[in-house]
Amino acid sequence: MSAWVAGDVTTAIVYPTRLRNLLKAATLLAAFSMLPQAALSQDDIVERGRYLTYAGGCISCHTEDVDDAVPLTGGRAMETPFGTFYSPNITPDRQTGIGAWSDEDFVNALHDGISPDGEHYFPSFPFTSYTGASREDMLAIKAYLFSLPPVSKESRDHDLAWYMSSRIAAGAWKALNFESARFVPNPDQDEQWNRGAYLVRHLGHCGECHSPRSTTGVIDADLEMAGSVLGDEKIPNITSHRTDGIGRWSASDIEYFLDIGMLPDGDFTGSSMVDVIEDNTSKLTREDRLAIAAYIKALPALESEED
């Protein structure tokens, strides 16, 4: 169990030295994730859900960007070319949060982008990535969220362009651009790469910010992870391109950046990635950060799009 628990990660910079130990740990971790859920107690599931909530980046988006915000009560604004989206309250309050949701409701939302009332979500909610996550992991996240105190706070309506003002637009977008499918490990790659792929492409949904989108908001599959622009912030290319991307970074550089935010040249990022590091990647085990690093390092080198 302990391999899953974020527990003591704050002091985890003292590294074990041998790579084979790491590989062994990664293999064990992967083996653990295959265990049937029935083998875990409810407490274990909640604890695992807590870890996965970090890994899924739920907190940074579902918490308002103000100093005294209550985590997961929603209200964070996301500016897009289609208007401003506001994240909803996902505490287990029955009226204003998700307290009345069944397991099926929760899984439908994350895997298929459908609300309990059968409405379509806009892809500002990254169900397009979460669709690859396992049902067990999703239900562990639900168990954790439902273990938290309910907070009554009405979710704010999105403020969208007229042509987006109907959920029908979201349904049409999904019909054209979305397929519900779980992650399947690639047998040609090792456990570490596969764990990284699962974290990067699905739970961690890195590509939702780091990939450019078309005018209709569809991620450009040919330029995955090759950088983007969000609002007035340039989101960097994280492919292995040596000048446009991060091809010069070692796996250790990537792991360390995700842990404490240091760039390989000794600078510290002040970008929106700070929230991702604080609420997501720094809370993961070092093994999981190394898996993310291994996957990212193996991304094909892509040039960034012209500005």
């Binding site: 003292v14 590294y15 912030e233 240091m262 000794g266 600078d267 510290f268």
Partner: protein, 151 residues
């Protein structure tokens, strides 16, 4: 109490025009370039120290040198933002001079962290070094979030 006093003094230095006791002909450009050079030296020490803290390079005593370099550089930050040095290609945001006390406080947080990092480096204790180095990073980020141009 002492902290408050130094904070007030730092704020005073930041808000006063070209506070270098350097040559009379130090221009705003010189002040800005000097600041940039100090920042580069901080980055260098941090990059090197991180490799030791990560265990990629053996700690044969050099960590203390980098820690002391960092601490000295961090102390300099109290005087490298003189009023009027917001010129040319600078990443420093005007907010630094609009709220000098808050800025001075943020700089002091880094200075406390670098002083603690020297103590940790001298102790040679790996866990203490890691924790102290992390705090140095938080100190850097504390200012870069609010007072530096983002890309």
């Amino acid at each position: 109490m002492q902290r408050k006093t130094t904070g007030a003094i730092s704020a005073l230095v930041i808000s006063s025009a070209l506070s270098f006791h350097a040559f009379a002909d130090t221009t705003p450009e010189d002040a800005k370039d000097y600041r940039s050079a100090v920042m580069t030296s901080l980055r260098g020490h941090i990059g090197a120290a991180s490799m030791i803290a990560r265990g990629l390079v053996e700690n044969d005593g050099h960590l203390v040198d980098h820690a002391k370099g960092l601490d000295a550089g961090a102390k300099e930050l109290s005087r490298v933002f003189p009023k009027g040095s917001n010129v040319g290609e600078t990443e420093a945001l005007p907010l630094i001079w609009e709220e000098p006390e808050a800025f001075a406080e943020a700089v002091e947080k880094l200075q406390d962290a670098t002083a603690a990092f020297v103590v940790a480096a001298e102790s040679g204790d790996g866990e203490a070094i890691s924790a102290a180095f992390r705090n140095v990073g938080m100190g850097c980020r504390g200012c870069h979030d609010r007072y530096r141009v983002s890309d």
